[in-house]
């Protein structure tokens, strides 16, 4: 099977079985699997960090580095490098929110989001972009977040890129990505190489199931081990249920519910953790939901509002040659051409990328069933897929979604798809089909229940123009959840200030993608790392009574 893996080149690799978490735990690092607790437990720390993804991981490392006693709480399981076997049947139920079947309330958008130690960084596809200048400029000018300039953020991004091995992918892209570059060039659309957070990557292509060689520089192999090595305590399989407030609206503790080992329901064991300060990093669904459950102050009704998804369209092409979209680094080429066509708050733009192709992800995404579906599946090795990530949250009518609570306290995300979105969706389906035909596709099928695909660009152009674009008929996916605890220049405009500090709760810092007041317009992990590094550095100085850092 190795002959089907294009560009399987090994960079210098140290120990292929390196698993810093497993080694560290064997050496005595502190980890509590809450599903194994037999009795209610009380713990105490300087800082409790809720969530172990991009924001929580960086916070854990920086705060432990500052000598603070840190407890890191994660609802998902601790799975480490040696556990990852590149199987969808294991990865989705174990490592993803809702078994990778999380959906918006109307079920029109499927959301991929991690739920495991390392959060989405454990399962993402490694794309690492700085927050685009256009986005920062909009935040500064339209939203008054004047501190967040390209210049002021640059050193934080640079530090995180250095920490996590981010650099443009130096290896030949796999065919799935190569065809994006080739097709785009033919239609005059520039593409670029994606920076990835990897060291010693083998170009396998299974990033979404947890990197089996520890090459992806996720929080699981970088910041979390660094924090544990400095004495931080990790508690996995503990659901953050409620923050407990004093009458003065300070948080005095976190009430956590131990999960059963299968991760589906809580056991009856409670864990209470007291601390001076709380860092909320449960992701843009989980963080607002915890604050809503805790009845946190929300005087301006902003909590859980303006949740953004980069709602994503999918287009599948079939080529006469093999593409082997499951082999090789999954995302290495992108185009921002269609993001830059209009003003940032004009008609919605979209970023073009490719997803990895795996049997479960591909078969469940593809429309239809029976013989037609089977025929399309038989083309699997010849399939090339493009995705268009729509930049939401800038246009006055792109208001995103809203996180609220179900009667059982679990979060639900309402995200209405309106005309402003569908107009962009149609342009995106057209742009992808044009590029795929230009790259030599025999057939292109927008993922939509109303079409079997088209055999030429001319046919696609007519067909897509007439496709009825509406929820459930047109497949929409998302891997980026942002907003809900947005930064604002003043309490009337945000849940937290530009340093992530909650406007009403003095000892709470929000430190994850829920901070973003719009979508990012790029895969968000590096935006989270950079902002977390900046905000937590400020927090660490304050908690240690050091002079405040002189940064904007």
């Amino acid at each position: 099977m190795t002959d089907t893996q294009p560009g399987r080149q090994r960079e210098a690799v140290s120990n292929p079985t390196r698993d810093p978490m497993r080694d560290g735990l064997a050496a005595g690092w502190k980890h509590i699997d809450a599903s194994r607790l037999q009795a209610d437990t009380m713990l105490e720390a300087d800082v409790v960090i809720i969530g172990s993804g991009a924001g929580g991981g960086i916070a854990a490392e920086l705060l432990s580095d500052a000598g603070l006693k840190v407890i890191l709480v994660e609802e998902g399981p601790l799975m480490t490098t040696s556990d990852f076997r590149m199987r969808e049947s294991e990865a989705y139920p174990q490592l993803y929110q809702e078994s990778a079947a999380r959906k918006t309330v109307d079920k029109a958008i499927t959301i991929l989001q991690g739920r495991c130690v390392g959060g989405s960084t454990t399962v993402n596809w490694t794309s690492s972009f700085r927050t685009p200048p256009t986005t920062l400029a909009y935040w500064q000018e339209a939203l008054g977040l004047r501190q967040l300039s390209v210049e002021s953020m640059a050193p934080w991004f640079a530090a995180m890129e250095d920490r996590l091995g981010v650099r443009p992918w130096p290896v030949e892209p796999n065919a799935n990505n190569g065809l994006l570059a080739q097709g785009a060039e033919k239609v005059g659309v520039p593409t670029h190489v994606i920076p990835r957070n990897v060291r010693g990557c083998w170009n396998l292509g299974y990033c979404g199931m947890g990197c089996p060689i520890g090459a992806k520089q996720s929080m699981l192999v970088t910041s979390i081990p660094a924090a544990l090595a400095r004495g931080a305590v990790l508690i996995s399989r503990l659901r953050a249920d409620r923050l407990i407030f004093s009458p003065q609206q300070r948080i005095v503790g976190l009430k956590g519910l131990a999960m059963q080992a299968d991760g589906v329901r809580p056991s009856r064991i409670n864990v209470r953790i007291r601390a001076r300060h709380f860092v909320l990093a449960g992701g843009a669904v989980g963080s607002p939901a915890l604050l809503l459950r805790s009845k946190a102050p929300d005087p301006h009704g902003l909590l859980g509002q303006r949740t953004f998804l980069h709602p994503t369209l999918v287009s599948a092409g079939v080529f006469s040659q093999r593409v082997d979209g499951y082999a090789g680094a999954p995302q290495t080429i992108y185009s921002d051409h269609y993001l830059e066509q209009f003003a940032v708050d004009g008609p919605l733009g979209f970023k073009l990328e490719t997803p990895p192709l795996h049997p479960v992800l591909y078969s469940t995404t593809l429309q239809g069933f029976g013989a037609q579906h089977a025929d399309k599946m038989r083309d699997f090795p010849h399939a090339q897929v493009l995705i268009a990530l729509v930049r939401d949250g800038f246009h006055p009518q792109s208001l995103g979604g809203r996180v609220r609570l179900r009667s059982d306290g679990s979060p639900a995300l309402d995200y209405p798809l309106n005309e402003v979105f569908w107009e962009a969706a149609r342009r995106a389906l057209l742009a992808m089909a044009e590029i795929q035909f230009a790259a030599g596709a025999k057939r292109v099928t927008p993922v939509h229940e109303g079409t079997l695909g088209y055999s030429s660009w001319a046919e696609a152009k007519r067909g897509i123009a007439d496709l009825p674009l509406k929820p459930l008929a047109c497949r929409i996916v998302s891997a980026h959840v942002m907003g809900g605890c947005a930064m604002g220049a003043t309490p009337e405009r945000g849940v937290v200030d530009p340093r992530g500090r909650h406007f009403q709760i003095e000892n709470l810092t929000v430190c994850d993608g829920s901070l973003f007041p719009t979508s990012i317009g790029a895969n968000p992990q590096l935006s989270i790392y950079g902002l977390a590094a900046r905000n937590i550095s400020l927090l660490a100085a304050e908690l240690q009574n050091r002079p405040a850092l002189a940064i904007p």
């Binding site: 089907t4 078994s99 589906v264 049997p359 069933f369 029976g370 089977a374």
Partner: protein, 165 residues
């Protein structure tokens, strides 16, 4: 948006009503597991036309592992999704709602594949978003359970995961 919207509350009420009706006619025990297995088998067979072997023993075996895979997947979902799926399965296995909502007149074990496919196709394109989402759930559960299994990879030319060590 799609025309008249039946929201989840309505769905739940219908689900509860179906369950209640089931209790009244006293078939709860009899209709439970076997009928659900027949229902999932019939639906899987229709969704997997073109992939299923024509050889009866292999077909039966493949369908039963698919149904087991669907059940395993459901068991791993959060409680709110498990209860939605349970409502859907109750509606489908109860004969009145099977006829009325799915338009399948024969019991699942005897249902013709074309009839099951016609029901799935009608839900797929239904003007009721409730039925569209129910189709979506069946589509994802069954196809996911099928393609998760390594024995079904050769048929689509997927070489499987690489040998790492």
């Amino acid at each position: 948006m799609t025309a008249p919207v039946i929201d989840r509350r309505t769905f739940l009420k219908t689900g509860f009503a179906g369950t209640l009706l089931l209790a009244c006619v006293g078939h709860v025990a009899a209709a439970s597991d076997d009928e659900e297995a027949s229902m999932l088998t019939a639906i899987s067979a229709a969704l997997l036309v073109g992939m299923l072997s024509g050889q009866p023993a292999a077909r039966t075996e493949a369908l039963s592992s698919t149904v087991a895979g669907v059940r395993q997947a459901v068991a791993g979902l959060p409680p709110h999704l498990q209860s939605e799926i349970a409502d859907l399965f109750s509606l489908l296995r109860f004969s009145l709602t099977r006829r009325f909502l799915a338009g399948v007149s024969a019991p699942w074990a005897e249902a013709r594949e074309e009839d099951v496919a016609a029901f799935l196709e009608s839900w797929r394109h239904s003007r009721f978003s409730l039925l569209q989402t129910a189709y979506g759930a069946l589509h994802d559960l069954v196809l996911g359970a099928w393609y998760a299994r390594p024995e079904h990879w050769a048929a689509i030319g997927y070489p499987g995961t690489p040998e790492v060590f």
